[in-house]
Each structure stands twice: as C-alpha cells, then as structure tokens.
Amino acid sequence: MIAGNWGYVAFGYLVSAAVLGAYCARLAIGLRRARATHLRLGEDGGERRSTAP
C-alpha cells in the first residue's frame, strides 16, 4: 500500500477542477454577454438571418 499519496490525488483533482471550471465559467459568461448584445441589437437592428451559402 503506497500510503501518503493523497497529496498527488488532491493536486490532480484541484488543478483539473480549476482548468475545467475556468473554461466552463468563460463559456457561461461569454454566452450571457453575447446574448445581451444579440438581444440589444436584435431590437433596433431587426432580427434578419441572411441566407448563408
């Protein structure tokens, strides 16, 4: 039984959680901000989907 390697386990989980958490947060915030500009422009600019090729 290789005891005392909880340190590595904690290190592994903490860093992974930090990386994934940061990425998910960036996505969520980005989406909220993009939706805000999308709606704001949507009201005056008028929602128009041009025909993408």
């Binding site: 005891a3 996505l27 969520a28």
Partner: protein, 241 residues
C-alpha cells in the same frame, strides 16, 4: 427560450453528475490494493482520455459533414471548433493527470508510455488546428475542415508508430502498462462509469454552449454583412448615368 432552458437543464444535470462522481471517486470508492489512493486519479484520467478521442472524432465527422456540399451548414463548422477546443483541454488534462499519477507509481513525472506519448503528439496536432481556426478569414471554414480531416488521418499513424516505438523500445521491460489498474471491485467500476458519464455530459454542455457562442458571433457578422449589402444597394438606386 426553449433552447436556453435546455442548456440550463443540462448544466444542472452535469453539475449533479460531477458532484456525485467527486463524492464516489474521493470518498466512497475503496483505494486500490496495489496503488492505494493514487488510483483515484484513474477516475479523472480515463474519462479525460476517452473525451479527447471522442472530441477529435466528432471534430472529424463534423468537418466531413461541412465539406459535403449537401450537408454543408455553419453548425457543423461550429461543432468542429467547439469539440476540438474541449478535446484539446481534455488532452491537456489527460497528460497532466497521467504524469501526476505516474509520479508516485513510477518515480519520474513523465513516462514514455505508448498511450501518453500518443496523446502528447495529438495535443500539439490539435493545438495547431485551433491556432489555424483562430485566424479565420475568407474561406476559413473549408480550410479548417480539410485541416481537421488531415489531422484525423494522422491519428492512427501516430498511434501505430508510437506503439511500435514503445513496445520495440523496451522489449519485455518491467514497464508494462502498470497504469492499467485491474478493476475488480464493483464499486470502483461503478465510479469509473459514473465518471465517464458525467465527463461526457460536461463535454456535451461545453460543446453546446461554445457552439451557441460561435453562432452568435457569426450571426453578428452575418447581420453586419446583410446591413452592408443593403447599404451598398440603397444609394445606387439613383446612380449617375
């Protein structure tokens, strides 16, 4: 509105699944008979590695669908980009957790073991793809799709040559794949499947959110374009003869 509800619901489910995984992986699942608690990193390493390959497979399929004229839609390009981005993050995590796990077991931080080495090459292969995507520009979607397919064709070749390299390199050496923990305990295998499941949910949520983000960015560009065309058409109605 439904679309926002869907991703919120999925987000909630993912967080619950991840929380459960954490609980099982760190507390409920028993330590490994040989490696002790270090084996708990297995519940991080295996899902991340699985996601890396899944993400790159999805990127390749989405790119192929974008290239095929009949199924060409911006959504495929967005999916390819989103999936590759999550894939690269998972590849990075796989490498990181792999070396953190290897440290107590083997001694060195990095072990030239077949799967880890292949993952390292894939990491840089798709970092290149992401760098290419960031450049955008005219005709970028088709160029990115072709690059994704070329990278995907490279995966088996890299995998094959690295396997040869590691197996031939250490004939019969002691470094057989000791990271391959033999999971007999049902609780451990349940935790592992729970981990794979929750990570896959996380992957889906990240992809959907990232795709929506790309779509909104493109949508904005499309709207500016439509307005530019309209602006360019309107004044010429009175063109000077």
């Amino acid at each position: 509105m439904i679309e926002r509800l869907r991703s919120a619901w999925l987000g909630a489910l993912t967080s619950v699944a991840l929380a459960a995984t954490l609980l099982f992986a760190l507390v409920i699942a028993p330590p490994d008979s040989v490696q002790g608690d270090a084996a708990r990193l297995l519940y991080l390493h295996v899902p991340a590695a699985w996601l890396a390959y899944l993400a790159f497979f999805v990127t390749a399929v989405a790119s192929a669908l974008y290239l095929w004229p009949r199924t060409r839609r911006p959504a495929w390009d967005h999916l390819a980009g989103a999936s590759a981005e999550v894939g690269v993050i998972c590849t990075g995590l796989t490498l990181f957790v792999g070396s953190v796990w290897g440290k107590p077991i083997w001694g060195p931080w990095w072990e030239w073991e077949a799967r880890l080495t292949t993952t390292a090459v894939l990491f840089f292969l798709y970092l290149g793809y992401l760098a290419l995507r960031r450049l955008g520009g005219r005709g970028a979607e088709r160029r990115n799709a072709i690059a994704a397919l070329i990278a995907f064709v490279d995966v088996p070749i890299v995998h094959f040559s690295v396997n040869w390299w590691t197996t031939l390199h250490q004939e019969g050496s002691v470094f057989n794949d000791r990271m391959q923990v033999s999971i007999t305990d049902p609780l451990m295998s349940f935790t592992l499947w729970l981990a794979v499941g929750s990570f896959t949910l996380l992957y889906v949520w990240c992809c959907i959110t990232r795709m929506r983000l790309l779509e909104l960015e493109d949508g904005q560009a499309e709207r500016d374009l439509a307005r530019a065309i309209e602006a360019r058409v309107a004044p010429t109605a009175t063109v000077s003869a």
